[in-house]
Symmetry: C2
Subunit: 490 residues, 2 copies
């Protein structure tokens, strides 16, 4: 097992400086200093000792677990003959679904009003929610929105037993190099989240000699992609399905752009298939290695050394971050432990499902809008918001999508793989209101070739919907770095 | 501010043994012992020092905050003339409500089935849920159940601006002393939870020379009691309302039996009104003083000393308890942070509301029934379960009831008051599957006069529904101790 760079230095140190010797020196010094040595010094010295040991322990890299790259997720057992066809697909919001949805919205019971003087401090503001629901019921153009989404070619194909939906959009190459890029969304989104950025990626730009061919996919159990009936479909396993989908489409090597769970999935893909992923652009960069978490925690004591002062507020004081995380992660906690409960709770109520997902979408666009009635929702185009809700509702994907939270924490393979660094060239873009910010120094624990990094003082979690232009500009810029990286490492 | 008993001993110790002297001795000893002194000894000594200091700090008792005992919770401002009338009330489940409820149950969309091989591990089992909902829709006798509840006299009266519902049941005294007892439920219950134990409490027993007059109340925002539109109605404030209700009924001194949030409320009442509460019987005994939490944590290292070996499994290993608490507290986290979101999410779906509350009720009856389809629900009578759901649904109390979780953590007065011990004679009954178990040694941090304590190797959180006989037997036994206590302390 290869040790990270300074592991060997530490071994050298240990060779010449046994713990016994260290303690002896410490005690002699202690005696001489006598009353000057206060208890907290003892504790500090012990802490440094523990720290060095812990660092050594945490820098170890586990072995890659053995994974079945063709695991069966369909109903029952794998058939003798698998259907590998690629079928064109059109999004339809049919009248039965629309009428039923509108009937349920009309039939809604009156809401409990917000507490006096409160906006979104206790969660979804029901006065604002009513406006959204009224628009969904009376003004949202179901057919028109489906037509709009259908301006791209949609397909379905069966991978490892699950019907996977994706859009595949070829660029007008105009003599440019065509680079394949896979776009992966998170919860509660679908490939629809990329609607605005697809044309930007497939349109050549004068200043770049490449352009993208886009595959925007729905994760299994999301959007128009089938969910599994088998336990265990965690982000590592989804990563395998996504890689197999790309191979089916003829892409043995490709780029990825992703956020949220898509980014977690992509991170695992970079770890499992480092020679197949040509570059990874993420708007939710995250090293979940234990060493990174320790650095983040310990860093709160020395924040001036580990993060630029202008970005410090994104990490510290830790108390503020923890308060924000506790305040906003109730849904996460519930979904990670009782996904089938919340799935059943909002299975037959479009209004309730909308309340549940919209509150989260709002605050993720801007965590400081708790004291507004819209709670951040006005940072997203209303039709985009309702597309998301309609797709989730029409396909009955609440339970299958929230189960991902439970699967992500239930299987050791996820913990092991997230602790293995990847060499895939990676670019990070940090929007202001992303849930967690890690400086490059920490990101490099996981992404050893972090070739590009951007930190913006605006924007939020749903970058492709909220700040599509900035996101795409950064993808182009980062890809230049990816190409340079490969040129250097040929 | 009075110091607890051994606080003064500690002061004495501090007088003769300054920290500097202590460090000096430590360092001399360290030098002599030389190589024998290993780093963990230093850490252990430091830990003991920190421990003694922390204990001293934690044993301090804060001052009682100033509280308005007549705060207004009704809409707008307090009127010049308050309505203090006591109005007889009958529970009615009317046809409009019933038809609408049944229509919604019939109209339910098909559920996502549980994952292959799973029972309740991912939350509510939708196959089992369907059976419950079918019974609710086709067989539950709405009118008959209301009639049953109406066999007790119900009332409403306006306290501090809120209409409070309660049952008041007088005993056949037969020459026995009549003791008033207030029964308080928790979430997602109502006074209906006490349906089975009311007649047991009001029926004289040969072996006791007292019997109870019962007041079973719905907490504000629960059951048939009005919720507030003002922020701040936490368990301390609810305790004030409950005390004022009892005074309105002519009870200036009374006993309390309670569990769940009722027990938290009652605990605050014992702290605020120690001369008015004659005795407190709780099936969810809990000292939330910081010192108790520290004892609980530190105790995991010395569990053999602090808890009888036969009860040890209820507390430790801490890892198992934490895993259980994390697994089962998603709903709690969500309700404590975004009550209005979950309220809006299940406002118009009786099926969804049932799924959401039933999963929790099931597991609280027996935490080991995750691998069954019913998840613990078969420990509760089906009609009791559906009474709870029907009352919650008919009165639209989801949002107002879950807001209590948010209020309980938002206001400093709760933290302060829960850190003040009470002298009210208290009895604790510990059923096997109660959420948290604290041995008497810890409970006494809060309840300095814990006069009776029972620990049973069966039962769960909803004692009044699940094990009514054992609960009432223990109330009678405990009351003997309450009376002895008052005789001793006349």
């Amino acid at each position: 097992m290869p040790l990270p760079e300074h592991g060997s230095l530490f071994s050298l140190f240990m060779k010449y400086c046994s713990m016994d010797f260290f303690v002896k020196v410490l005690l002699h010094m202690g005696f001489l200093l006598n009353n000057m040595l206060k208890p907290f010094t003892i504790i500090a010295v012990a802490a440094v000792g523990i720290g060095v040991g812990t660092n050594y322990y945490l820098q170890r890299v586990p072995d890659m677990p053995k994974l079945d790259l063709n695991r069966w997720w369909g109903d029952g057992n794998r058939p003798n003959q698998e259907d590998e066809s690629i079928r064109p697909f059109k999004i339809t919001f049919n009248d039965t679904m629309i009428d039923d949805l509108k009937m349920r919205l009309r039939n809604r019971r009156p809401y409990t009003r917000p507490l006096e003087g409160m906006q979104s401090e206790y969660g979804m503001n029901t006065i604002y929610l009513e406006k959204l629901l009224k628009y969904w019921q009376d003004e949202y153009d179901f057919k028109g929105r489906a037509d709009l989404l259908n301006r791209y070619p949609h397909y379905k194909t069966r991978v490892q037993g699950l019907d996977i939906h994706y859009m595949r959009v070829k660029p007008e190459a105009k003599g440019k190099q065509v680079l394949p890029i896979l776009l992966m969304h998170g919860w509660p989104s679908s490939s629809k989240e990329f609607d605005k950025i697809i044309p930007m990626l497939t349109t050549p730009r004068d200043e770049y000699d490449f352009v993208f061919e886009v595959v925007a996919v729905d994760l299994p159990g999301f959007g128009f992609s089938e969910g599994t009936n088998k336990p265990g479909l965690n982000p590592v396993q989804i990563g395998i399905i996504m890689r197999n989908l790309m191979r089916r489409l003829g892409f043995n090597k490709f780029y990825i752009q992703a956020g949220d769970w898509g980014s977690q999935t992509a991170t695992h893909m970079c770890t499992m298939f480092p020679d197949e992923i040509l570059g990874f652009h993420t708007n939710m960069p995250l090293s979940s290695r234990p060493i990174s978490n320790v650095k983040y925690l310990v860093g709160s004591l020395f924040s001036s050394f580990i993060v630029e002062s202008k970005h410090k507020h994104r990490m510290y004081p830790l108390k503020d971050l923890m308060r924000y995380l506790v305040r906003e992660s109730g849904y996460f906690h519930l979904q990670a432990t009782k996904p089938d409960t919340i799935g059943a709770a909002i299975a037959d109520t479009p209004a309730g499902m909308a309340a549940y997902i919209f509150e989260k979408i709002g605050i993720c666009t801007n965590r400081k809008q708790l004291h507004t009635q819209h709670g951040g929702l006005e940072n997203i185009d209303l039709n985009d918001l309702l597309d998301t809700a309609t797709i989730l509702w029409a396909n009955e994907r609440i339970t299958t999508s929230v189960r991902l939270y439970a699967e992500a924490f239930a299987w050791p393979e996820v913990l092991i793989i997230q602790d293995i660094p990847t060499k895939v060239p990676t670019a990070a873009i940090n929007f202001l209101h992303e849930v967690v910010y890690q400086p490059d120094w920490i990101l490099r624990d996981k992404f050893t070739n972090l070739v590009h990094s951007t930190t913006l003082d605006f924007g939020g979690h749903f970058a492709a919907m909220q700040t599509p232009k900035e996101l795409v500009d950064d993808i182009f810029k980062s890809t230049v770095e990816f190409l340079k990286f490969h040129a250097r490492n040929k």
